[in-house]
């Protein structure tokens, strides 16, 4: 059984939908674009696909090697596909939460958050260095359990496609209670916020129920507009600088670290951790904000 490459099939739709959103915003829909920002986002997306070409064969080989040690033999059927999709999304939650809490993983994922805009091109602003951040490793449990490599790669592609459309300000809230179950534009706007209230929240890919279950959910508030971007925003549109800035910062912090703990935390600690001075981790920023404001606010 062969599976199509869902990303390749979806790419023309991505381009058309970006054009549609640009025109909709131009004619009054909620949202914003900047041509320089879009250049960076689209170029990062292009580079990400090139990185996938370079590292794809290695990842598939690793997946095949791990799959040879599978515990069960799960056939490719509609129910195993659905099960694999849900399990993959749970593992995506674990990956995504780690990507915000461990600097080695964040060094790749930060690229996706480095725009101060939030539109469909932001969805395509993807890392070039995910292989080195071991993002592929989070799916290994699916292979050990016994899901077919082709099925795992297919549902991973579907997951990624789903996440494209939530990167928009043009959609307010989903109807029919879907906001309770699914990741939505509203939930994901919160995820891209650098407001202390919104930092490190809503990691879910397709299903937001993981955040509700594990205590990382935050609803978007109409009285607190999301401020998109990073705690320390980057000041470049250069794709190469965008791709590498956190790796460079890690190298600088490793060089300057005075203790072995400092070196470890520079790599594996939370983003914003510092050996000296005031930390700017999400937890520290939120704690300082909570100390300044009343709980009712």
């Amino acid at each position: 059984m062969t599976f199509p490459d869902p990303i390749q099939l979806a790419t023309p739709a991505f381009i058309i939908l970006v054009l549609v959103e640009m025109l909709a915003v131009r004619f009054g829909a909620r949202g914003d674009y900047d041509w320089r920002d879009s250049f960076t986002s689209l170029t990062m997306g292009f580079g990400s696909t090139m990185a996938a070409v370079v590292f794809g064969a290695t990842i598939v080989a690793i997946y095949a090697a791990v799959a040879s040690h599978h515990l069960l033999t799960i056939p490719i059927t509609w129910w195993s596909g659905a099960l694999c999709f849900v399990a993959d999304d749970l593992l995506y939650y674990a990956f995504h939460r780690s990507a915000h809490r461990v600097r080695w993983f964040w060094a790749s994922h930060v690229i996706h958050h480095s725009s101060q805009h939030y539109n469909l091109t932001t969805a395509l602003r993807q890392t070039w260095t995910g292989f080195w951040s071991l993002s592929f490793a989070f799916r290994l449990p699916l292979l050990l359990v016994g899901f077919d490599v082709r099925l795992v790669l297919f549902v991973a592609g579907i997951n990624l496609i789903y996440q494209f459309w939530v990167h928009t300000e043009a959609v307010q809230r989903l109807p029919f209670g879907l906001e309770y179950v699914l990741n939505s534009p509203s939930h994901h706007r919160v995820h891209h916020g650098s407001n202390p209230r919104y930092l490190d929240r809503n990691y879910g890919g397709v299903f937001i129920v993981w955040d509700r279950m594990f205590g990382t959910f935050e609803a978007e508030r109409d009285d607190e507009p999301v401020r998109y971007g990073l705690v320390h925003n980057i000041a470049t549109f250069n794709p190469l600088s965008t791709a590498t800035h956190e790796w460079v910062a890690i190298a600088r912090d490793l060089r300057d670290a005075k203790t072995w703990r400092g070196r470890w935390m520079a790599v594996a600690g939370p983003p914003g951790w510092t050996e000296n001075g005031t930390p700017s981790t999400a937890d520290a920023i939120r704690a300082a904000w909570e100390a300044r404001t009343s709980p009712a606010e």
């Binding site: 381009i15 970006v18 054009l19 640009m22 025109l23 131009r26 914003d32 674009y33 900047d34 041509w35 320089r36 920002d37 879009s38 250049f39 689209l42 170029t43 292009f46 696909t49 090139m50 101060q116 805009h117 091109t121 650098s194 202390p196 401020r227 971007g229 320390h232 925003n233 980057i234 000041a235 549109f237 920023i285 300082a288 904000w289 300044r292």
Partner: protein, 82 residues
Amino acid sequence: MIFVSILGIVTLVLFARAIGFARNPVLDADEARRVAEAQLPGFAGVEAAIDEGGRGARVRGRDGQVARVFGHGDRWVVRLDA
């Protein structure tokens, strides 16, 4: 495939620019303070000096720290002076 992708990127970027997503806003003192306070939680600006024709500013905080605000496309980047 590569050339098609590059052509697609160039087309989208030029289209965005052509339909007006190419602003270079300028700051006044109130806006500079607001931007600095928004990007630096806990920072309270008391006075701002505008430079670079409104594309940059220095904002002095209540605690004596100085925040530099500078244009980044149609957005702003803020850095605290060491």
